[in-house]
């Protein structure tokens, strides 16, 4: 994976979140869960979006809030699942 891929992943996820949550911006390290930005419904919607968009599957072993707590964490998780 290249640096451009990483940026594309982050911006794709950011755009999805901003299109679904009533916020004007999200910083790369904003904690999505502690800040109350997302609820449990959006959690599974975000998971589904990531699975579909990046052709990965989130399984039981991936159930770790560290993987999805922020834009940076989610980007790193997608890169890891893609062998990056």
């Amino acid at each position: 994976m290249t640096a451009i891929d990483k940026t594309e992943i982050k911006e794709t996820v950011r755009n999805f979140i901003l299109s679904s949550i009533n916020l004007s911006e999200i910083k790369d390290d904003d904690n999505l869960f502690e800040s109350g930005i997302v609820n449990s419904l959006f959690t599974v919607q975000l998971m589904t979006f990531i699975e579909r968009t990046f052709a990965i599957e989130v399984g039981m072993d991936d159930l770790d809030m560290e993987n999805f707590k922020s834009l940076n964490a989610t980007t790193a998780f997608v890169l890891k699942k893609n062998g990056g």
Binding site: L41, T43, V44, M60, L63, M65
Partner: protein, 415 residues
């Protein structure tokens, strides 16, 4: 292609078959647009499902409702035809059908019996949860018997003190040696009276967890709940767990994720099933109403020639078409693994269950006194429809969630 999906023998008389085929022909002509949106394979399967319901469900649904019990024979038939594992992949002995087909099956069964469809609902809730979050060992142990219909599953979430507020679960697990000890009470659990395994939600040191509990577990007692208004044959029960030993291998997902990740998968499939089941009930109200309106005479006019009856039927038929499109759209979105599938399913269940309540009330009104008697399915539809507004999330919970979803989308429009 069509011949391949119609793989089961038909054990009905020629007269029955002719009457059924004529009715199916009328049904297909009633709503051509929605049918055209389906692929040929879906149409063929839908026809198979309707045939199954006409032969095995509709003639007996009133009796099941009256006796508050589903006979083992009908559960065996659901299993024999592969319907209890319709969404489970073939590698686990399921049919591997897509969600559109799952929706059509629920719609067809919902036309015949909401109580029987509830079995399909909870079987799918547990099976799809295991498919997503189960370990490899759990999938291989539990999915094949569930998919083959050798075992019925139940989804044990609701508690006496916990309805829609899932965060306040009181059922608890505590670690002891190499296993957990489960204690607590669950109420209003569909299929509890005959399920072989229960997916139970509780808390382990304040972390939400989900675990599989076999029916025969020592300390696990099931108390039947009877005399419900609707879904009377769905085998509801209250579950009592008194120091039940649960192997650690039976935890589904990781502690802390049961409410945020595990339950939403099951509830989502439950909502798809409930929406499509309500759609079948709505179709039943419509078909019963137009048949009555066309035949029943008051003086020298049929009921269908009266303007106020036409108004009721117009609303019902339009609601049916709208509900059909919403349900099929939700199923298609789920087949595409779209994140929009969740809100589409909320909308489908919200609209269809409310439309079913309106239609059932109007269907009874159109039939008059005969609609209030068990000789007409409309009296059962009326009672079952109200339950559809409550199961898998009440109408008010749907409004709260959908309202938030829509307001949060303001950013999409640059506002």
């Amino acid at each position: 292609m069509v011949a391949n999906v119609l793989r089961k023998p038909r054990l009905v008389s020629r007269t029955q078959a002719e009457a059924r085929d004529q009715r199916l022909k009328v049904e297909l002509q009633t709503v051509p647009d929605a049918q055209q949106a389906l692929a040929d394979v879906h149409k063929a399967r839908h026809k198979e499902f309707k045939t199954f319901v006409a032969d095995n469900v509709e003639p007996f649904a009133e009796q099941w409702d009256r006796e508050q019990q589903l006979p083992e024979a009908i559960l065996a038939k659901l299993a024999q035809w592969g319907y209890l594992g319709c969404s489970v992949p073939a590698e686990y002995d399921g049919q591997g059908w897509d969600v559109v087909t799952f929706g059509l099956l629920n719609e067809a069964l919902g036309r015949g019996s909401s109580a029987l469809t509830d079995v399909l609902t909870v079987q799918a809730m547990v099976s799809m949860t295991l498919l997503k979050w189960g370990s490899a060992e759990q999938k291989h142990q539990w999915l094949p018997p569930l998919a083959r219909g050798e075992m019925i599953a139940a989804f044990a979430m609701t508690e006496p003190g916990t309805g829609s507020d899932l965060q306040s679960l009181a059922t608890g697990l505590s670690a002891q040696g190499g296993h957990f000890i489960l204690h607590g009470t669950k109420r209003w659990i569909s299929c509890a009276q005959f399920a072989g395994v229960f997916l139970v939600f509780g808390k382990l040191e304040q972390h939400p967890v989900a675990c599989l509990v076999p029916r025969e577990s020592p300390g696990f007692r099931i108390e039947p709940i009877t005399d419900l208004m609707g879904l009377r044959a769905a085998g509801l029960g209250q579950l009592h767990f008194e120091n039940v030993k649960v192997p650690t291998a039976n935890l589904v997902g990781k502690p802390g994720f049961a409410l945020s990740h595990v339950a939403p998968v099951g509830l989502h499939h439950g909502r798809i099933s409930a929406a499509c089941s309500a759609l079948g009930l709505l179709r039943g109200c419509f078909e019963e109403s137009i048949a009555h309106a066309a035949k029943r005479k008051i003086g020298n006019k049929t009921v269908g020639e009266m303007g106020m009856i036409r108004s009721l039927i117009a609303r019902m038929g339009t609601d049916l078409e709208a509900a059909r499109l919403l349900c099929h759209g939700a199923c298609r979105a789920e087949d595409e693994h779209s994140p929009e599938a969740f809100e589409k399913t909320f909308m489908a269940k919200y609209f269809t269950s409310r439309a079913a309540v309106r239609a059932a009330s109007d269907a009874v009104q159109i039939r008059g006194a005969s609609g209030c008697h068990a000789a007409s399915p409309t009296s059962r539809f009326y009672r079952d429809a109200k339950i559809m507004e409550i199961i898998e999330g009440t109408t008010q919970i749907h409004e709260d969630i959908l309202g938030k979803i829509f307001v949060d989308q303001a950013g999409r429009f640059g506002k």
